[in-house]
Structure formats: C-alpha cells, structure tokens
C-alpha cells in the first residue's frame, strides 16, 4: 500500500530529501559542501518536524561516523555530500561495510580531482562502485537520471540497505541536484518495526552482549568474514536495473548513466528523427552493473559507444560485460564544462560511421 501525494516542482536535492523522509528516515548527519547543500538545509527543518534527528556535524568524517552509531541501532539513517566530502567519508563507509551496517549515502558528484570545481562530473564512478575505502567491499550504487527517479530510488535504497545490511549510495551530480522538475511524491508502506531485529544494538537483556564490529583478529576469522561478504556481494548481483531506449533495431548502443544518460537521450531522439539507428542503454544500478543485459545486446551484433562526463571509468565495466563478443568506443566529455545534446552528435555519428 502506497499513498500518492502531491505533484511538486522541486530540485533533485529536495526530491532526495523528501524521498528519504517518506521512507522513514530517522537520523540525518551532514556537512555543507556545494552542490548538495539543499539536502542538509532541507533536512534541518523538515526532519525534526517529522520526528527525526538532524545534526550538522563538525566534518564529513564525523557525519559518516555518526551514521555508524545510528545504523548500529537499526534505524534508517542517511548522509549526503559531494566528491571531496565523499572521499573523507570513505573510512567510515569501509567500517559500515565491514560491520554490515545499513545506511544511505548520497553523492552529488562535482568536478575533480582535488578541489576541482562545483560543476557536474561523473569522476567519482570508480570511487563509488569499486569500494572506495580500504579493504574488499562494495556498496550498492543507484544512479538516478531524473528528479522523480531520485525520489523513487532513495526510497528503494533504504530497503536495499536493510535487505543486504550494507551501505547504499545514491550517485547523482550537480545537474541532477540543481535542476527542477515535477515530482509526484508517494509514501511507502510503514517501515517494518522489526527492521534490524536480530542484529541491532538495543541493550543486552536476557542474552549476552551483541558486538557490531569489523575487527577479526583470530587466525582464519577475517578470511571467513571476507568469504561471507563475497557471497553477499554475489547475491546482490541478482539485483540490477537499467533503462533501454530504442535499442531493439539500433545499430549503435550508447551506454551512459545519470544526467549524461538523459542528455544523450535527447541527442538520440534528434538523430532518430534524422533516420539514424541509435539506442540508449542507461544503467540505473552501477553496482551491481547490469552486465547480462548489456551482453545480450552485444550478442545481437550491436556496436557500442560509452559516453561519460569523465576521462573514462564506467567504460571499463562496459568492456568487461561485453568483452567476449564486442568492444565499446568511448567519448569523454571533460568535467569543467556543461554538456548539451549537441555535444554528443558528432561522436555518435562518428561511431555509427565507423561500422
């Protein structure tokens, strides 16, 4: 049972904030960094009003560690940040993964490396989908392309976090965070009261104390833990989402995600009108990556062009997915500029022509 709410004209950042509160968010910990400040600003007023806790932490590091505490209690918790801030949170994200604590982390990606700029970029793909912090771990990564999808996916993110007892990342960018679109709000079924039962810390009554930790010192203990995590990450692989647009008869498949995926869609619409057989494959889950679906397209003899707002990161996963059958060309639109649909015409036509 879901309750459909109003139709609002809001920014992506606000859609994420509203989605999180609709999902039953109890604790938000954050620190200001552009271009995601709308999230802590929205949360500071709306979350306490909804009966939750908002803390502006002293740093991104502290905010991410506050998540460890709240997640250990089995409540729905979240932080948000942008690229340099996410780097600072990675230590805690590694501990969250190692201790199997469910939480949601939003990254509104900006340009890097280093201080970079405050404009959009997809330079954090590697950091998001390959672990990011120390040790062997993965976070589930969801990449919305519209404000509505941002609202919907953040709700799903909390369910996935608890299902897998693992951090889930929403990976957006400055475009998604700052643009306004109509969003239809909805509220999911009431959160299961027993969420976290069996592992969360609530006080040791009539049982021995429970320890949530990532330290495994005795011989073989860490190996066992790592094997368990590996099996869990393999289980996650069954859960993938993607959007396919006009791929059936396409000769060339453009693989692009998030904001770039949506801009490329506009380019494809224009090229289709001109008679070019191009289609879009937009991964929504970046980890796990929808490799099987992409491989199916490769088996149909399609050609591939991966377009990203970076120097080439997701293209490695695209190539891994289709490597036994085909290859993918790459076009990188460098962070520091804002792309328009026109910017992708030439590289797409070039890839089509190189048949």
């Amino acid at each position: 049972m879901t309750k459909t709410g109003e139709k609002l004209f809001i920014k992506g950042n606000e859609a994420i904030s509203r989605g999180a509160i609709a999902a039953g968010l109890k604790c938000y910990f954050g620190y200001p960094i552009t271009p995601q400040n709308d999230i802590p600003e929205y949360m500071s007023a709306a979350l306490p009003a909804a009966g939750g806790e908002f803390v502006q932490a002293e740093s991104e590091v502290a905010a991410a560690n506050m998540l460890i505490g709240a997640a250990a209690c089995g409540v729905r918790s979240m932080t948000s940040s942008s690229s340099p801030g996410i780097s600072l949170k990675q230590e805690a994200i590694s501990y969250l993964a190692g201790s199997e604590l469910p939480t949601v982390i939003v990254n509104m990606n900006r340009g890097g490396p280093g201080l970079g700029d405050i404009g959009p970029s997809q330079g954090d793909y590697f950091q998001s989908v390959k672990g990011g912090g120390h040790g062997d771990y993965r976070t589930l990564v969801l990449a919305p392309g519209t404000c509505q999808e941002a609202y919907d996916l953040v709700i799903q993110a909390f369910d996935l976090a608890f299902k897998y007892r693992n951090p889930v990342m929403i990976l957006g960018d400055a475009i998604l965070g700052q643009m306004k679109e109509p969003v239809i709000t909805w509220t999911p079924e009431a959160t299961d009261e027993s969420e976290g039962k069996g592992w969360r810390i609530v006080g040791a009554k009539d049982r021995p104390g429970r320890i949530l930790k990532s330290l495994h010192l005795s011989e073989g203990a860490l190996a066992k833990h790592n094997l368990m995590l590996k099996n869990k990450y393999e289980d996650m692989a069954s859960f993938t989402q993607k959007e396919e647009y006009q791929t059936e008869d396409a000769d060339l498949i453009i693989v692009a995600y998030g904001s770039i995926g949506r801009i490329v869609k506009s380019t494809i619409k224009k090229l289709r009108n001109e008679g070019h057989k191009v289609g879009l494959f937009r991964p929504i889950t970046l980890y796990p990556f929808p490799s099987d679906d992409l491989k199916k397209l490769a088996e149909q003899g399609k050609k591939f062009l991966t377009i990203e707002h970076n120097l080439g990161q997701m293209v490695e996963d695209v190539r891994l997915s289709i490597r036994t059958i085909a290859d993918s060309e790459f076009f990188g639109f460098y962070p520091g500029n804002l792309p328009t649909p026109d910017d992708f015409e030439e590289p797409i036509l070039k890839a089509l022509g190189g048949k």
């Binding site: 590091v61 250990a72 810390i201």
Partner: protein, 253 residues
C-alpha cells in the same frame, strides 16, 4: 559449620573472562570500575557501548552490554549517532589518549561542545599502547618513546595536552574530571567521579568526561611497581587530579 556470607563478587556487567592486558596495566582497573557502576546503577541492560581503537577496543569482550566499534578517533561521533538514534539508552564510550587527543581531537571537542548526553572514559597513559609505544599528545616532555627516542622535545613536539581542562571549558560539558587509579584512595575517588559522569547523562545535563591516569608498564619499559610510582611522581604533577567542571551543584541547589 558457620554460615558463610558473600561480601564481594564480580559485578554482573563484567564478563567472567581473563583480560588481554599486560601485567601492571591499569586499563583493567578502569574497566572494572565502569562495570561495577553499570551493575550498581542498574544500567547494564540499558547500555550501548561504543568501543574505540588500540587496547581499549576489547572492552566489548569484558562488558556484558551491546556494543559497536568505532574507527580510530571517531568514537565520540559514533556515540553521537547512537544517542541520537536511541535517546532512551545509556551511551558509554572508552578511548585512549592517542585515539582521543590526537586523531580524534575534532570529534571529542564537538561532541562535548554539542552537549551530547553520553559518557566518555578517557584513559591517559601518555603513550600509544597497542600500536607499540609511540609518542602521544599526552607524552610528557623528556619521555622516551619509540618515535621520540631522545625524549619528547617541547620546542618541536609541543607540550602534553591536558584534556579534562580543555573539555571543562566547553559549553556542552556537564562534568569533567581527572582521576588516577594508582592506589586504593584514588580508585575510590575515581569511581565516585565516574558515577557523577554517568549521573549527568541520566539527568540529561550534557556531556560527561572522566580522564583516568593509568600505567603502561610495557611501553614505559618499567615494572608494574615502578610504573605505579611514575603516576604519583611524574604524571599527577603535570596532570593534576580534580574536577574541572560540574554543573550538578548549580542544578541541584
């Protein structure tokens, strides 16, 4: 046969296992006091413990309470998250000096300043213990460690930091005190001070902080007795015992 009466027993908050501490180390004393208080104050079932790094981390093996482990220095942030999620629980953390006064300086200052209703026991033995005896922010001037082989040099490495004085200056602190566990008299005082820190949390008055001067015979390269003497002769003169802030007098009157 005359009837025997039990006059002293292990507090039920303490798990009946041998600890991993080196001979003469006073972590065991500090942890025992905490365990006794949890039992005596009826807090055991209601306590959520945040363990930290180094020798302190294994406290989760010695207290029979629910616990979560924090990364190096971040226990006060983790404790903040726990308390904000479960304001009805008693939140206790326990950190060493390298952890709290070096890498975790930001987290402890802001946790105290926000007046989080948590209790933090800070064990100051002037050295990084488990890591192998390196210099800590609390290492005394002239003290030799594995990273200050000629002794701490104030002109290059600064002076040892007095944490309970600093914490006592912050607006959110309800109670801050320094104690030692080097003799029976001081142990009794330490327990009283720890109790006070726990009580301010129960009364939701703000942040409670107890600094415990303790020995580390292994890394001090001393036997247990000499290490205990060092507390009296070197540590207490630089880190004076006493209460640096206590808001309860104003509130209770």
């Amino acid at each position: 046969m005359s009837e025997e009466k039990l006059v002293f027993d292990r507090a039920d908050a303490l798990v009946d296992v041998p600890t991993h501490y080196c001979p003469g180390c006073q972590h065991g004393v500090a942890q025992r006091l905490a365990g006794e208080l949890l039992t005596e104050m009826g807090l055991t079932e209601n306590t959520l413990l945040v363990t930290s790094i180094g020798c302190s981390v294994f406290l989760y093996n010695y207290l029979n309470v629910d616990s979560v482990e924090a990364p190096h220095g971040r226990a006060p942030a983790v404790a903040t998250g726990v308390k904000r999620a479960r304001a009805d629980k008693f939140v206790l953390s326990y950190q060493g000096d390298g952890d709290l006064a070096s890498i975790g300086m930001a987290e402890i200052m802001h946790c105290a300043n926000r007046g989080e209703n948590v209790s933090i026991i800070f064990v100051n033995n002037t050295v990084y213990g488990m890591t192998g005896g390196q210099m800590a922010p609390t290492t005394l001037v002239g003290q030799k460690t594995t990273t200050s082989p000629a002794g701490r040099n104030a002109s290059k490495e600064g002076l040892p930091i007095r944490m309970s004085e600093i914490i006592g200056q912050l607006g959110g602190t309800a109670y801050s005190a320094r104690v030692a566990v080097n003799n029976v008299k001081n142990i009794r005082k330490a327990k009283k001070a720890m109790k006070k820190a726990f009580e301010v949390q129960q009364k939701e008055l703000g942040f409670g902080f107890i600094e415990v001067l303790a020995t580390c015979p292994t890394n001090w390269r001393m036997d247990a007795l000499k290490a205990n003497e060092r507390i009296e002769e070197e540590l207490i003169p630089y880190f004076p015992l006493g209460v640096h802030k206590d808001v309860t007098a104003e509130v209770e009157d």
